[in-house]
């Protein structure tokens, strides 16, 4: 294990759109402090950052890639057939693959970033979570194409269609757990750094879209807290939550705010450093059994 002691350290990056770039700030701080990560888990947009970190790319490269990966034009191509299926479901055949936007732009970007990379080729073991659309179960993707896994994990309901891997139709990982700490637990991690993001509440509800977003935020945030609470209590060692606080509003595609987001991530990671140094630096026997 590459950590300061023999504890297995996992980084879990939860759902949070472009805010997940805060993980790069954490990566900066950990690199400076010599804290190595033994395992990375990602969910939804967090899966992209998890994969970039697991691939061993340095922060500057990842930052640059992010600006190109996650831009507004990812959702620019409307799927007109999908609209017809909504309006005339019997005539055009509405089914479980519904999505309002075509995924060609996002697939192109993901292939530019990750090419044919597989989980097996990652420098740090990587796991990505999605959700089985048929029954809501969390699906842990740990082998095969990284691009396919990320595409499945970011299948934002209504926007991108569910994505088929094997015989399962998968939707966004946040639907089963916005911060999948359990994957790191199952993989034997001792110290789990869990970077999560609460969904913003809508300040003004003046459209059906905002109404739906608010409902989604309520459910997602409650799911985040209930799942985290369970994992926090049941883990044998430490789960260290890092929930960055953003003073500025960060929207879905605010990639121009990435430097700010990284800075917030750095600050949030630095707040945990005094304890992490003590925990990983020496006498952590007590912590493991606590």
């Amino acid at each position: 294990m590459g950590s300061l002691n023999d504890k297995k350290v996992a980084l879990v990056i939860g759902a949070g759109s472009v805010k997940c770039a805060a993980a790069l700030g954490l990566q900066n701080v950990f690199k400076r402090e010599g804290i190595e990560i033994d395992l990375v888990v990602g969910c939804s947009a967090g899966s992209m950052y998890a994969a970039l970190i697991a691939a061993g790319y340095d922060v500057d490269r990842v930052t640059d890639m992010t600006k190109r990966l996650w831009t507004r034009d990812l959702t620019s191509q409307r799927d007109r057939m999908a609209l017809l299926r909504v309006a005339f479901p019997r005539l055009f055949g509405f089914d479980a693959t519904f999505g309002m936007r075509k995924d060609a732009p996002v697939m192109r970007r993901l292939r530019e970033a990750f090419g044919d990379l597989t989980f097996e080729g990652m420098k740090i073991p990587l796991h990505i979570t999605a959700t089985d659309f048929a029954n809501g179960e969390q699906v842990i993707l740990s082998s095969g194409s990284v691009v396919d896994a990320i595409r499945a994990s970011i299948s934002i309901p209504y926007i991108f269609s569910p994505y088929k891997i094997g015989d399962r139709l998968l939707i966004d990982g946040f639907m089963s757990d916005p911060l999948p700490v359990n994957v790191a637990m199952r993989e034997g991690a001792d110290v789990i750094i869990a970077m999560g993001f609460e969904s913003p509440n809508q300040t003004k509800i003046n459209s059906v879209g905002r109404f739906s977003f608010q409902l989604s935020s309520i459910m997602t945030n409650n799911l985040l807290k209930s799942r985290f609470a369970f994992h926090n209590i049941t883990h044998h060692s430490e789960v260290i939550p890092i929930v960055p606080r953003f003073d500025q509003r960060v929207r879905l595609f605010d990639t121009d705010k990435i430097p700010y987001i990284i800075e917030v991530g750095e600050r949030a990671a630095e707040e945990q450093l005094p304890y992490l140094r003590r925990l990983l630096g020496g006498d952590a026997t007590e912590a493991a059994g606590a």
């Binding site: 807290k225 985290f228 926090n232 430490e238 952590a284 606590a290």
Partner: protein, 112 residues
């Protein structure tokens, strides 16, 4: 981390200074269990000087809460700092523990 206790009527105020984490959990657990086993199950933990809390530390609080309630008392928190409160909220503790702005309010909450 330092732990001191003070009896205020039928309530015992446990003042904790420092970090409630995996490295201090053992000492904190011993201190809290000692109070409960000594018949002092109406506890208030003064968190005004607790500057950090981790999952392993929170599990100690959970154990104390269960023990105190089993013994007919309770384990209540006072003066929790915003950063620590955030961890408590995320971990679900604020939905199962009673929290008060200060120790006086927490002690008074037990009634006469």
């Amino acid at each position: 981390m330092e732990v001191t206790t003070k009896d205020m009527g039928t309530v015992t105020v446990v003042t904790i200074v420092g970090s409630v984490d995996g490295l201090t959990a053992g000492a904190l657990q011993t201190a809290l269990e000692g109070q409960i086993q000594g018949g002092k199950a109406r506890l208030v933990a003064d968190f005004a000087a607790v500057d950090y809390a981790s999952s392993a530390g929170l599990r100690t609080l959970l154990a104390a809460m269960k023990e105190a309630r089993r013994a007919g008392g309770d384990f209540r928190l006072a003066a929790v700092r915003p950063d620590v409160l955030r961890v408590l909220e995320l971990s679900g503790f604020t939905s199962i523990l009673k929290l008060y702005p200060g120790t006086d309010e927490a002690v008074a909450s037990y009634g006469p």
